[in-house]
């Protein structure tokens, strides 16, 4: 009898533990910044933790776990004990942006701030952790720079070990292959660091410069924290290379271009990019008018790419062929305007569109054909920007 009671009690504890470990994710949002009046309409307040229903994929119960200025990109350390967020502002220190380190409470999902440091330039918009675990990589959009910041053994952030700030002539403001009627920026501009990420082998670090239309490949010295340039690949002038994704084997890089809404495929070997075939549009045939792309994801199998179109407000499903070539197979309405990013859950069954201007997260199911189907599930959340699952 006592034994049975103990078993029942154990079962209860296990089931309760189970419930506690249902899928969870962090969502970073755009927030008002008192130093920037243009940000006053942002509806977020920082980083939120949401529960994700295993069956429906629906996120729910958003809880603010870190009040923070515009944490528009976040990433976890390899052991997911630490979370790093950019603060996409130009009001830190001497008109710079900042990055913030948090310790993750694995049980509750709570975040405890460790420290905040300069990001190396204004408006940081992307952050990743180097596979050595020793450095944080940041792309600064308006600052037009890439920075490397040392991660201390306690997870907090140390000194900036390198800042790469491309120079050279300005690029044109409109790409020749943009959609008809695309109303883009009217001014030539300097570099815009939009993404920085190591390749799957961990040997290289890649940076997309959406301003001077180029893709950098570096090697990181994991002692000094210095980036050494391996190659620079020029995009179509004005194309605005923004986010990229690697094939799982690391041999192919897919580069999404913000300003002409196109995707270019590159072979990746020895740290060098070699274009394969012509770029393709992420928009339906015959689309005219304005659009900018934002996020690009690849599924686990490496068979489908998902590109986000802002203004057309769709998720482009692009099938990867046997030769690594890509083909647009579908455009699915995001159900809310300005998808800032997309996320696939760890099981690969669900895809989320973070609709910045609609202030919601829309849930899609990925079917056998790889095309996202809207599940009817919305979660209201002010100006969402990025979503990262907590393993």
């Amino acid at each position: 009898m006592k034994f049975l009671t103990t078993v029942a009690a154990t079962a209860l504890i296990l089931s309760s533990a189970n419930a506690a470990f249902a899928a969870r994710a962090y969502i970073g949002t755009y927030t008002p910044d008192p130093a920037d009046p243009r940000s006053s309409n942002n509806g977020g307040a920082g980083i939120y933790l949401v529960n994700v229903d295993d069956a429906t994929g629906a996120p729910s119960n958003p809880k603010l776990v870190a009040k923070s200025l515009s944490p528009t990109w976040i990433t976890l350390s390899a052991d997911h004990k630490f979370l790093y967020a950019v603060n996409e502002v130009a009001s830190y220190g001497n008109k710079s942006g900042s990055i913030t380190a948090y310790a993750v409470d694995g049980a509750s999902g709570a975040l405890k701030q460790l420290n905040m440091v300069d990001s190396g330039g204004p408006i940081p918009c992307y952050v990743s952790v180097h596979p050595s675990g020793k450095f944080l990589l940041v792309a600064n959009y308006t600052g037009g720079s890439y920075s490397v910041t040392r991660i201390k053994p306690d997870g907090s952030l140390g000194e900036t070990t390198d800042v790469v700030k491309p120079g050279g002539p300005m690029s044109v403001y409109q790409a020749t292959d943009r959609p008809v009627g695309m109303a883009g920026s009217k001014e030539p501009h300097g570099s815009r660091g939009h993404m920085i990420l190591p390749d799957p082998s961990g040997q290289y670090v890649v940076g997309a410069d959406a301003g001077r239309d180029q893709i950098f490949v570096w090697k990181l010295d994991t002692n000094t924290g210095k980036l050494q340039e391996v190659s620079v690949t020029k995009s179509v002038p004005g194309a605005g290379p923004r986010h990229f994704a690697f094939s799982p084997d690391g041999k192919t890089l897919y580069q999404q271009q913000e300003q002409d809404s196109r995707l270019t495929v590159y072979g990746f070997a020895g740290g060098k990019l070699t274009q394969k075939g012509a770029s393709i549009s992420t928009l339906p045939n015959g689309y005219q008018g304005s659009n900018t792309t934002s996020e690009l994801l690849i599924d686990k199998a490496g068979k489908n790419l998902y590109g986000a179109n802002r203004n057309h407000d769709s998720i482009a499903t692009m099938a990867v062929g046997a030769g690594g070539g890509v083909k647009l197979v579908a455009n699915t309405h995001t159900e809310g305007t300005i998808p800032r990013s997309l996320t696939i859950d760890p099981t690969g069954k669900f895809l989320y569109s973070l609709n910045q201007n609609a202030s919601n997260v829309a849930t899609f199911r990925l079917g056998a054909d790889g095309i996202p189907k809207f599940t009817g599930k919305f979660l209201a959340l002010g100006t969402p920007a990025v979503m990262v699952f907590l393993p």
């Binding site: 045939n285 304005s290 809310g336 209201a380």
Partner: protein, 394 residues
């Protein structure tokens, strides 16, 4: 005339007719938001464009600028479509810092517009314009200035003096509606009155005005001698709901009111100039929608069986079926194909629907399919910051 000569002549006439027929293919005017020198704006239009419409596909093409002007965000034709009137949705016309209204002569053959004159709209930021069925007055709703104005139309089609300006006052209502969906961040300004639409009922006896700021619907009678509006009724809408655009059933017995802030549609019975709510309001985005949205345009089809409402931010066209009792049920939501639909237009045949996507800088064509639901026709026309589209009858 020999037989041969006759045939040649017939062929020539046929050729001429074919030519004339091609010249009279459907055409439409499109008003756009433009850059304003004195305001911070990021608009991409330049004025009023004329487009050709393909009868078979419905696709608009070949946009040409026929009137360069500041932000003609609403346009209307005179009943004989010899004149076109457009408001400039601006805040700095003349010493009183109002908006303006411009009158044009329509060249029926070319579709060209010749400006006649420009007058003050009586208040700032006019957003809607209609020509009274008498043809003697232009009715204007001023959004920013919060007023409704009546402007005399002279016999040559040009605009005369403002014969009346109604500027509602009284207590403010609420900045948000109690029945808004969760996560509604988009606001409708409620710091004062906002004239958002003014139009006539089908009988032509009444003039109706939406005040999206103080959440009320006015019904007036217009004295077609003096051009003065006399109030018949005022209907209060849910505080914060922001009544924006309305349509009447073709028999004039019902009025459907689209509410901008809470994305809901309310049906009313309309009798003797008085509105009486018919059933509960319905939500225009998909079921379960959370997050921001504001509605914009509302249309009714030729048969009076379907309403089409535009959702901005969720970016869809809601198809709403009208029941035998006049009640309404939302039956579908169709992606507009780009963001921020400022308005919708139906072609005269009722076969095609157009979404004027202000943020997308394009016009997307839909074919009205089974059950009245718009189907994307694969036709997109680039045009900067489009706001309104009006067909020019042949």
């Amino acid at each position: 005339m020999s037989n041969r000569k006759f045939l040649t002549a017939a062929a020539a006439i046929a050729a001429l007719l074919g030519c004339a027929s091609a010249a009279q293919a459907a055409r439409a005017y499109v008003g756009t938001y433009t850059q304003e020198p004195t305001a911070r704006s990021n608009n991409h239009g330049e004025g009023i464009y004329l487009v050709d419409i393909d009868d078979a596909t419905g696709a608009p093409s070949n946009p040409r600028l026929v009137a360069k002007m500041l932000s003609p965000s609403w346009i209307a034709l005179s009943p004989d479509h010899k004149f076109l009137y457009a408001n400039s949705e601006i805040l700095d016309y003349g010493p009183d810092k109002t908006g303006s209204v411009t009158a044009y002569v329509v060249d029926q053959a070319s579709g060209g517009l010749k400006p006649l004159n420009t007058v003050s709209s009586a208040s700032a930021g006019p957003a809607y314009i209609a020509v009274h069925s008498s043809g003697k007055f232009v009715l204007v709703a001023n959004y920013h200035g919060g007023s409704f104005a009546v402007i005399r139309v002279k016999s040559d089609g040009s605009l005369g003096e403002a014969t009346d300006v109604v500027k509602p006052e009284g207590p403010l209502t609420s900045p948000t509606a109690s029945d808004s969906q969760p996560g509604q961040f988009a606001g409708s300004d409620h710091r004062g009155s906002h004239g958002h639409m003014i139009g006539m009922d089908p009988s032509g006896q009444y003039v109706v005005g939406d005040d999206a700021g103080r959440d009320q619907i006015f019904v007036w009678k217009l004295d077609t001698g003096t051009g003065k509006l006399s109030q018949v009724s005022v209907t209060k809408v849910l505080p914060g709901a922001a009544p924006r655009h309305f349509v009447f059933s073709h028999d004039g017995k019902r009025m459907y009111q689209l509410q901008e802030q809470d994305s809901r549609l309310q049906a009313y019975n309309f009798k003797d100039g008085v509105l009486t709510a018919l059933g509960a309001s319905i939500f225009t985005p998909p079921d379960g929608y959370q997050g921001s949205n504001t509605t914009s345009e509302l249309l009714i089809d030729n048969a009076g069986k379907h309403l089409y409402a535009a959702n901005r931010t969720q970016d869809s066209i809601a198809t709403i079926a009208i029941g035998a009792d006049g009640g309404v049920t939302r039956t579908a939501n169709t992606h507009t194909g780009a963001n921020n639909p400022r308005s919708l237009a139906l072609d005269p045949s009722g076969k095609f629907l157009y979404s004027l996507n202000q943020g997308g800088d394009n016009i997307v064509t839909f074919r009205i399919g089974a059950a009245g639901v718009p189907q994307y026709a694969g036709k997109v026309l680039a045009l900067g910051s489009p706001a309104v589209m009006v067909f020019l009858p042949n």
